[in-house]
Amino acid sequence: MTSLIDRRMGIFLAGLFVLTVAVPIGNLAFDGKVVPSYIVSLLGKYLCYALLAVALDMVWGFCGILSLGHGAFFALGGYAMGMHLMREIGDRGVYANPDLPDFMVFLSWDELPWFWMGFDNFWFASLMVMLVPGALAFLFGWFAFRSRVTGVYLSIITQAMTYALQLAFFRNEMGFGGNNGLTDFKDVLGFPIQSDATRAGLFVCTAIALALGLLIARAITTSKLGMILVCIRDAESRTRFMGYRVEGYKLFIFVVSAMMAGVAGALYTPQVGIINPGEFSPANSIEIVIWVALGGRGTLVGAALGAILVALAKTLFTGWFPEFWLFALGGLFILVTLFLPKGVLGLIEETFARKKKPAPALQEAKA
């Protein structure tokens, strides 16, 4: 049987642990001189992306479902958390209205819409962070998988799904702040959101969520169910003839993945300080696919690594030559597809295997 923590997972988790300890200490103990506060939030954002990439890798890398709409689940999780943060502002908004968020006062709404009820409670909001993306994935998957929509057609309708949500969330009438989204947060669980200690805390929470996400994904993909997911990816029809109801398996992994993406979004919102309909944009969802492809599809750790590397490159590149970032990203994707079919992780592992004389790499050949 395959172990839960193999070598690549062990190395990644060890690295993540060092980061989780070093970054907050470097920030808090030295008054932001060693690790500036903005770096803490930036790294926290990268880790959210990494968790999102792991979520996509479960459905795409293992089950072969190329979702081009995973940004939608991420954004929904982000909105659910954003709604709670809006409620925590209370009467400290510009209009000092104790009952309504600023944007509702501005639109002269009289009362809180029903779907905002309950979001005063952090735990209710946390539940919604997973339930709302999970429910959407269930509904969407139920119809799509039962009708045996696969391949490119499925990818296109996932893309349409996130685009439709983007348009809907742009509308002021929806009650989610229109194109400005939700922002101007003050506290999270009573801690001031701008303070260094809160930022460090959010960073640690994100790192823990990423580690848990990786372990859950690994546990699922190494189980018998995980092997059946690979069967579905490689020969769906054959899997049916063995007596497995393929739809059920796809639905399961799609929903789990959507919930994980929702958690990533929920951790993203307080660290970035805003959530708006731009997060639903189809381009965002495509970028997630690039992270996974670049890091190494079907490796989980590779997906996380890919997300971090691309996000880092994006930060640097958009600082130097902002106009060329999309060209660089596109070029990167083409290069990886052509020369690194196993992604960056595959490249690293092959390099190490070669250095260590003829290594017994056969065991790892199974992606």
């Binding site: 189980s223 018998k224 054959r238 049916r240 063995m242 497995y244 393929v246 398996y249 199974k366």
Partner: protein, 245 residues
């Protein structure tokens, strides 16, 4: 003996082309049956209909004279006890040989059961037994993609047996096998008959002769004739449409 599988006046056309034309066929429990016929005779469509992949336009397909197979999907037919081996060997290439067998083993097929599944000793023993039967125990840890064509055929036969089906639908099992292997396959299928019902679709006449069983000749989606191999090969119509070519 009771009828295990009954096709009763089945029709199916694709864009006006009648792939299956008033096909009736009865196979007894425990019987070994060979189905032969030229390309386009409807052999594969017949298997698709039995396993629920394709729905017939009209006619009935009955399992054990009670279950209506036209209302059942592929997974449902497999759960009833119908195992299918494909003409082109389809094994799961990224999984190891052993895992291919393990995933085929008769067991609970639900999402939760597979999520929390732990391999039992009985299952491990059964896997080894099957690997020995198909002579792949030395390759058990290799990815199935590394096997030769003939070995993949054997692996798929092993996977089929792992399902422990009541009815085996075997599509051209001897393709890509050496003469000795072909004879061994025939022997294996003969030994399965009795305990299982076996339907073999085949082109290779030597193989069909080695099966030594009742033969059904299919032509243009219809049963041309049925009987022993000698009986059907003496039929002038059969010679014209198939053997004479």
């Amino acid at each position: 003996m009771s009828v295990h599988l009954l096709l009763d006046g089945v029709n199916r056309s694709f864009d006006g082309y009648k792939a299956i034309n008033d096909l009736s066929l009865a196979v007894d429990k425990g019987e070994l049956r060979a189905v032969i016929g030229p390309n386009g005779a409807g052999k594969t469509t017949m298997m698709d209909i039995i396993t629920g992949k394709t729905r017939p336009d009209s006619g009935g397909v009955w399992w054990n004279q009670t279950v209506d197979l036209t209302k059942i999907d592929e997974a449902g037919s497999a759960r009833l006890g119908i195992g299918r081996k494909f003409q082109k060997p389809t094994v799961f290439e990224t999984h190891s040989v052993e895992e291919n067998i393990a995933l085929s083993l008769k067991a609970e097929r639900s999402v939760l059961a597979t999520l929390f599944h732990r391999q039992t000793e009985a299952e491990a023993a059964r896997i080894t037994e099957l690997l020995e039967l198909v002579r792949l125990e030395g390759d058990r840890h290799r990815p199935a993609a590394d096997l030769s064509h003939g070995q993949k055929q054997w692996l798929e036969i092993g996977m089929l047996l792992a399902q422990d089906p009541e009815l085996l639908l075997v599509d051209e099992p001897a393709a890509g096998m050496t003469d000795a292997e072909t004879m061994r396959t025939a022997e294996l299928l003969r030994s399965l008959a009795g305990k299982h019902t076996v339907i073999v679709v085949e082109h290779d006449m030597d193989f069909v002769r080695a099966l030594d069983c009742r033969v059904t000749v299919l032509h243009q989606g219809h049963v041309l004739t049925e009987g022993s191999l000698d009986h059907v090969s003496a039929n002038p119509e059969v010679i014209e449409v198939y053997l004479g070519r």
